[in-house]
Symmetry: D2
Subunit: 356 residues, 4 copies
């Protein structure tokens, strides 16, 4: 591919938050031309009618999903369940699909059924789809035809903990407890009684203290990096806080043997020293000693830090990212870059703001 022939990209489900973020990124991507954005409810309207930050930047109007024509890569930003139902039609429109929903994240139909409560409608495709996290699946992404998204909370937890599982130091006899603090954009663009500002503002609201579906992705991916099926109990809970974008996961991991801080530093440096979008954040002093989501708004970084309780053999891992960026649209663009063999940071250079 030469730089003059840009990849033609289209988005289905463009009026939501993930679709809007993806549109923003693709409009500025040097190798991509965003040619179509579909929305069943907004067909005919300007893109900036739902994404006011794009005013003056694009004259694109939404088309109806039924009117989509062929393109080089198609992004699916649909409600969970919708992508799998119509996947054959979408595959007919583009040789490469990046699905940002939960539909194709799991490889095992049984695991899917257990966590989603019903059989998968297209189980034959589960094995074909690549879990779109370059830090774990970079080689498979190259030339993949079908890439799945990754849960925003799951991504945070996986990037925070994968090095420990890969190193084989996690004591799987003790449950892993993870607590996610999440912003309101995770729940999407549709107004609900739970998102009503006087109620939601300042909330510290427990959401799915048990049974959170992102747990399935943790089980799968920790198994991948461990090279064996996970036998550990995973206890994942999430709390919605006063925040629009961002997630911080705090995880309590007990390790097999007494270790020192320098061992952890070595494990994390080996895992992430060359990763463009994972930063280790652990300072002895100052305000920003650990990962914090607010300075990541708009950036594609996942910041990872830890603290060790030597006596308890406990590692507290903290990981943060922007759920709409590295947790969704930014991650999808990073996968796109991998699929086409481009520099992985193309279109993802924005470093985030401070203060914000």
């Amino acid at each position: 591919m030469t730089s003059t022939a840009r990849v033609r990209a289209a988005i289905v489900g463009g009026s939501g938050y993930t679709g809007g973020e993806l549109a923003r990124l693709l409009l500025f991507h040097p190798q991509v031309e965003l040619t179509q954005v579909a929305s069943s409810s907004r067909a005919g309207q300007f893109l900036h009618s739902t994404h006011p930050n794009l005013r003056k930047l694009s004259t694109l109007r939404y088309c109806h999903p039924d009117d989509l024509t062929g393109c080089d890569v198609l992004f699916l930003c649909l409600p969970h369940g919708s992508a799998a139902q119509a996947i054959e039609r979408y595959r007919g429109l583009a040789p490469r699909i990046i699905d940002l929903s939960a539909d194709f994240r799991l490889r095992s139909p049984a695991l899917y059924e257990r966590w989603y409560g019903h059989a998968h409608p297209a189980p034959h495709l589960l094995n074909e789809a690549v879990y779109g996290l370059p830090e774990l699946h970079r080689a498979q992404l190259r030339d993949a035809a079908m890439v799945s998204g990754h849960g925003c909370n799951a991504t945070t937890a996986i990037l925070g903990l994968a090095p420990l599982y890969r190193a084989g130091i996690v004591n799987q006899d003790i449950p892993l407890v993870l607590e996610a603090k999440v912003g309101s954009s995770e729940a999407g663009a549709a107004a609900t009684i739970g998102s009503h500002h006087p109620d939601r503002s300042g909330a510290v609201r427990s959401f799915q203290p048990t049974g959170h579906r992102h747990t399935a992705e943790l089980i799968q991916e920790f198994g991948v990096v461990s090279n064996s099926e996970l036998r550990q109990t995973i206890a994942f809970s999430a709390t919605a806080i006063e925040l629009v974008r961002g997630v911080l996961v705090t995880a309590h991991v007990f390790v097999n043997e007494r270790i020192e801080e320098k061992n952890l530093w070595r494990i994390y440096r080996e895992a992430y020293g060359r990763e463009p979008f994972v930063r280790l954040v652990k300072e002895r002093s100052g305000v920003y000693r650990y990962p914090e989501p607010k300075i990541l708004a708009g950036s594609n970084y996942c910041d990872v830090g830890f603290e060790l309780d030597v006596e308890q053999q406990r590692v507290v891992v903290m990981a943060a990212l922007d759920n709409l960026m590295k947790g969704a649209a930014g991650g999808a663009v990073q996968s796109l870059n991998c699929m086409f063999g481009w520099d992985e940071t193309l279109g993802l250079e924005f470093p985030g703001l401070h203060p914000i």
Copy 2:
């Protein structure tokens, strides 16, 4: 009335924010028994299903408005327009009515029609209703049968500026400009796309930069305290900010002649020195030098301050209150106390929190 025979109060439209605040106040009022709370959409449910702060404090359930029975005083917390439509029925239920909507705030049918865009459905009652602001209409409230509420923004502006109009020092040849900064609870308990947290959070959103209906109340009440019809142009605009409860009005008043700060102090002290719920706030130093709504949450105070630009003959008046308290439910209870000849502070003692 003896202290053993409590006044039986009922609320129509109890599931909204104003109704909930009123229920909270009446449940703790030493002279009142809250006997009925009606809601057409919530009939049969517990009061705390919509007002979680009342959990464990009351076993009352909502009744349907059609099932209301007689009581001593009836509070109407209905959407604007509803009270006037059914006012005769409500008057049949109780000898005393306190309406918190905008329906009976204006004395002039013509003024109503101009600002609300249609003729008033019960114009004969407009003159009977007393504008429920004790600071301006205390004598009339005593033994009134029908009391109207007052717009939360209008109340703030009126209490801030009435002393200057009464003193006759306002230069009415120059327009009065007022800017209200308001919280999200002003828009009520119904979720809308505009109240969706990711959009509303952190907003600084202009609302009715021209044509705000509360202007009509200002025209009326500034006329009352001036003892003559207002001839001044009133320019009122409102901006919704990140805040749930509270309003701050900043008003720019030009005065007839060169005055000194001590003149203003005297005017305000004479107006409010004996008022239980208006405080003058003007400090030379410190953080809380002027009125601020946040420390007023839950309190019935209206805080008023000012700053003088001697050269420009301009007074900047700042006034703050909690729109659900002094701006609505608290104001209604203060009126109730006046109507029954009780101590005006009964049930309204909570001073507000700091920090909050």
Copy 3:
């Protein structure tokens, strides 16, 4: 004591947040006269110079701590370490002391030294002080001469979990993981670089992921209700979020045997059915299904809820309170009421606001 002779109360360290909250409560307490408030830095200034919500409510001025005279009960709201240093002097001023610092919370000098890093300066008093949590120590509080405060996060966790420890169902072979989400008022009234608004606003900041001192109180009090020394690993971490008042603790408890939800309901109802300030919050639907701190601002309630993962034998307990009220000043007044044999709710009736 007759109702005409009010208890004379004084506060040392009145200019901080805990001192201000206590002053507010005592000014409205029907059995108490607040006679002195001391502050070494504010002597001579009005109380409302630091607590603007008290404007117009009190003409008290701060005295210097050296100028304090005798009273019936003395509240110590000093930085940790200060109370213990001068405790003999304070005991000379009043027959009853309520200390809100951490100095006298632990019964064991060894436990104190381990968590605070130095020997206790007055170890002989540790056994005399009563841990001021009426739900656990009501009988001892009656007529106690010296009462300690309780950590705000610790209180939340203890009230949330004590029923499970008392019932003997906690599997102590598995570590207890607790995550507290806390507001900025926990860090006190002194401005620091960490509390600077542009940095602190919207923060999701890990604070003491390991080694949090409140852990010591959990060890002690879970031991008390278990009737045996705790042998379990306690993993407590705290995250500062966008919130001024309030704390939510989420705890992951593994239980000894397979239980059903109704067992948990029974355990919690027996523990708290008659407690005036603990509410069980667990709804099947609606927005407020679990405890949330924001509706507790200014109230003395601790709300407790839970969710059970039957298969994992895991109980997620959520507990919320206002750190300045039930977590500090409100708790101290509740202890005061116990000490003097008054109704435990005196002066603590405010139910909290909604929306807020």
Copy 4:
């Protein structure tokens, strides 16, 4: 200049918010190499010690201002007053200076003295400096040796109102009232009691209701676009709200004659139709009908909208921007682009986020 020889830029006062924002922009600017960042208090430390969003993006360390060496362009991000004191030294270091303080904004020494309370220390340079707003002074910026910054609130007001003054339709017999709603980053990076989170959070705090210094810039620049000295009274007040970045100015302008909305549209379209960083925002429906600062965080846009009260001959103008971007650092880079004849949008392409 060829693309291989980048302009060497240096920043003095780089540890503050404006300096940090400027560093971020220059690090990504394709024509610039950021070679030195000076800070008297942080010398030797990494840039990201104060600007955590720059972690991993630069290995620059702060130098001491005394150690600065020559460069092509020098940005001064110093406290007001400091730049003027040492301006000769800075001019010796670089042929081009962009000063972001208030020191060189005014052309008239008399106007400076009136608003800043003391004589200007380098009055001979006032006429040399160009007010760095390309929308008003683009031609003069080309090849300018010395460019001044512009007050963030003043910039917002000037961009909002300049078209009306240029069109000559403002009725200068009626005072102009402007109310700015501003975020906490305007007050800078130093922690104060006023910026302490529990106090500042949720504040609606009047700041300089009279006598705000940005008024001087309005007088000057409205005079420039009017081609005659302003004779109108300017009433500018500012209110600090819950917001970190951003300002919204609401201005009430009375016009000379009865006009229609289409006249205003024409005036604004002619003024800004070709401006890269001013957008007209005025929608008939939807949530984002008027300018809002929150979606501008990190962008260089100034959004301008208006509403007309035909009868009152009043125009309410609303203008919004990010005070650290278009109001400070972004504006400075836009001026830089003008000075060197580059595309004015270089390094300023980030469109802002939604939701945020």
